[in-house]
């Protein structure tokens, strides 16, 4: 993007003053290099979001932002229901509550490397991955509704995971306000055999080494120790979330005019929060959040069982589980007053600062863990929420590196076999059902995740705690 289109707020923040139908400014957090690399659609989409009714403060884009549909991926926007604010299916995305969880292990790098290939084979064999994979849990109507209401708590009741996990999951593993009745039968049918599955695309399960510690005190509070290994899982609400996104996007697009909403882009499909449609979407979306939380809990349980085969009984305590695609009702201080807002984070992470009552007690003085997913060879980061992020973007941060090349371009640049071999030479073992899928997700197809997190830190969105280097990657 041409930086002359922006007012420079700092080395890592750029503002677009309201023009046309914009109700608030647009703010993009990016270094000059990252801004230059972003496609022009991020400008269009971030400014379009600023036109929606009831938007508060500004429309934000995180340092990993790229072209989405309606909202950019990496977009953050808050809406006030008392000011005609809207909820947008496009502002949450198709993979509702797609997110990351990281389990701690007491294993050293050497212990993992001693069984690296066998452990990779076992994880690949037992965690259902890729297109068409089915889980062992098949839900009937009653179980489906119980899952949609109970989230990870439901999974726990079914014998997956352990009770301590709930302390490390956002919302305690279960968001209130889910309405299974607002979820269509088609969405439920799509999910019936997909519990405990990883999915495909950029979803993965990785065994990683804690390679660098940037903030020893926070790392210690999170349980991260240099040289020890962790297990990270990236997946979401599977077919149920996809179907809810599909159905509500269409319904909101068709009915926007009836609410008197003029959409600058049909993908910005939305409905007033205080409308029947808005409330129905929120009920369905929260059910999908619970589905994602339950799904990650089951996948985590399967992974624990695999680790137990190799290393004996190990608890693999959950460090944290955080979602990237949500709309949540939160209280934020605006102009000295607390306001209840519906904060959309699409491809963005909630990043609560120290002191937040929503954080588990052991983390409270350090800020919320922010898990930044990598891409096979690129590694991942753990960040911590900071106080000033509240003013920067409603306590939000980036969620990954963000794509640099399209899938099309990636398959032209690399073959899957080449990527697997190159990573193997670097000590990273990859298992995937699809070599084309591996090529599409090649590390080089993504931006430099280090540059993205450096920018997030410099912009005051979150601060770096640790860098995780992959040893095993199960790619969906």
């Amino acid at each position: 993007m041409d930086r002359r289109r922006f007012e420079k707020l700092s080395d890592n923040a750029w503002r677009v003053a309201p023009f046309g139908a914009m109700r608030v400014p647009a703010v993009i957090y990016a270094s000059e290099d990252l801004l230059e690399e972003m496609d022009d659609k991020v400008f269009d989409q971030t400014t379009n979001v600023a036109m929606l009714p009831g938007i508060v403060e500004a429309s934000y884009a995180m340092p990993d932002a790229h072209w989405g549909y309606g909202f950019p991926i990496g977009g953050v926007a808050a809406f006030d229901p008392q000011a005609g604010g809207v909820v947008s299916a496009g502002g949450v995305g198709f993979d509702i509550s797609c997110g990351v969880r990281t389990h701690l292990t007491s294993l050293t790098r050497e212990e993992v490397l001693s069984v690296q290939e066998e452990l990779a084979d076992a994880l690949y064999a037992l965690v259902p991955v890729g297109v068409g994979a089915e889980g062992e849990v098949v839900l009937d109507r009653a179980a489906m509704d119980a899952m949609l209401t109970g989230g990870a708590r439901w999974a726990l009741e079914q014998g997956f995971g352990n009770a301590k996990d709930l302390l490390g999951i956002e919302e305690g593993g279960c968001i209130e306000g889910a309405e299974p009745a607002a979820v269509s039968e088609r969405a439920k049918e799509r999910q019936r055999r997909e519990m405990g599955t990883l999915g495909s695309g950029n979803h993965y399960l990785e065994v990683q080494e804690v390679k660098h510690i940037f903030d020893p005190a926070t790392a210690a509070a999170y349980g991260l120790e240099r040289g020890k290994c962790v297990l990270t899982i990236h997946c979401g609400s599977r077919g149920l979330g996809h179907q809810i996104g599909t159905e509500f996007l269409r319904e909101m697009a068709v009915s926007a005019q009836s609410f008197g909403i003029s959409l600058p882009d049909r993908e910005l499909a939305c409905a007033p929060i205080n409308s029947e449609l808005g409330q129905r979407y929120l009920g369905a979306m929260r059910a999908a959040i619970n589905c994602a939380l339950a799904n990650r809990e089951i996948v985590g349980h399967i992974a624990r069982e695999v680790f137990a085969r190799f290393f004996g009984k190990s608890e693999l305590p959950l460090m944290f589980d955080v979602s990237h695609n949500t709309c949540k009702l939160e209280t934020h201080r605006i102009g000295g007053k607390d306001r209840a807002l519906f904060v959309h984070r699409k491809g963005a992470t909630r990043a609560l600062g120290p002191g937040s009552a929503s954080l588990p007690e052991p983390f409270r003085q350090y800020g919320q863990p922010v898990l930044i997913g990598g891409s096979m060879g690129a590694g991942s980061y753990v960040l911590a929420g900071v106080e000033q992020s509240e003013d920067r973007a409603f306590s939000s941060a980036c969620h990954g590196a963000g794509r640099r090349l399209s899938r099309h371009a990636a398959t032209r640049a690399w073959s899957g076999r080449q990527i697997v071999d190159e990573l193997r030479a670097k000590g990273i073992v990859v298992r995937s059902p699809s070599m084309r899928g591996v090529a599409e997700e090649a590390p080089g197809a993504y931006k430099d995740v280090g540059a993205v997190v450096d920018c997030a830190e410099a912009a005051g969105l979150a601060r770096k705690v640790a860098y995780l280097a992959p040893l095993i990657c199960i790619k969906g």
Partner: protein, 155 residues
């Protein structure tokens, strides 16, 4: 079945009215496009392009026909609904399709989709399609006898 054409190859275009499908680039996801002499053929080809995001259509046996009927208020919404219906059938039946027969009357669609159960070993499916979006959505006659049906799919 039509042929795939990669837009950026610079290859000579096939006959204008020949049924064919294409993928086009999108930052994170994938654009799909069907082309043909009628909207129905363009819809058939767009659905092949959708399935080709997952599996090479040449590797799909045309065994199990699945019936799909739809109605939408406008032709472009019909395309989104059609692609989402195909996505739903793939997801719930674990079938991948390689060919389609579509008829369109006004904004009503009736179709048969032909394919087989997904095999991880034989098909090595790549990404999973989550849904069709309104991004780059278009159903139009580019020139007499050449219809285009396209959108971006979330993968």
């Amino acid at each position: 079945m039509g042929e795939s054409v990669d837009m950026s190859d610079g290859e000579p275009a096939p006959r204008a009215d020949a049924p064919r499908w294409e993928h086009f680039s999108h930052g994170a996801d994938l654009g799909i496009r069907g082309l043909g002499a009628t909207p129905a053929i363009a819809f058939e080809q767009a659905a092949v392009a959708l399935c080709a995001a997952m599996v090479d259509p040449r590797d799909i046996r045309l065994e199990e026909p699945v019936e799909i009927t739809l109605e939408a208020p406008a032709l472009d919404l019909l395309l989104v609904d059609w692609l989402n219906a195909v996505t739903y059938e793939i997801a719930t039946r674990r079938i991948i399709f390689g060919a389609f027969e579509v008829s369109i009357s006004g904004t009503k669609l009736a179709a048969r989709a032909f394919g087989e159960k997904i095999s991880r070993e034989r098909h090595a499916p790549a990404v999973e399609v989550k849904g069709a979006t309104f991004t780059e959505l278009a159903v139009r006659e580019d020139r007499p006898g050449l219809w285009r049906a396209q959108c971006v799919i979330d993968v």
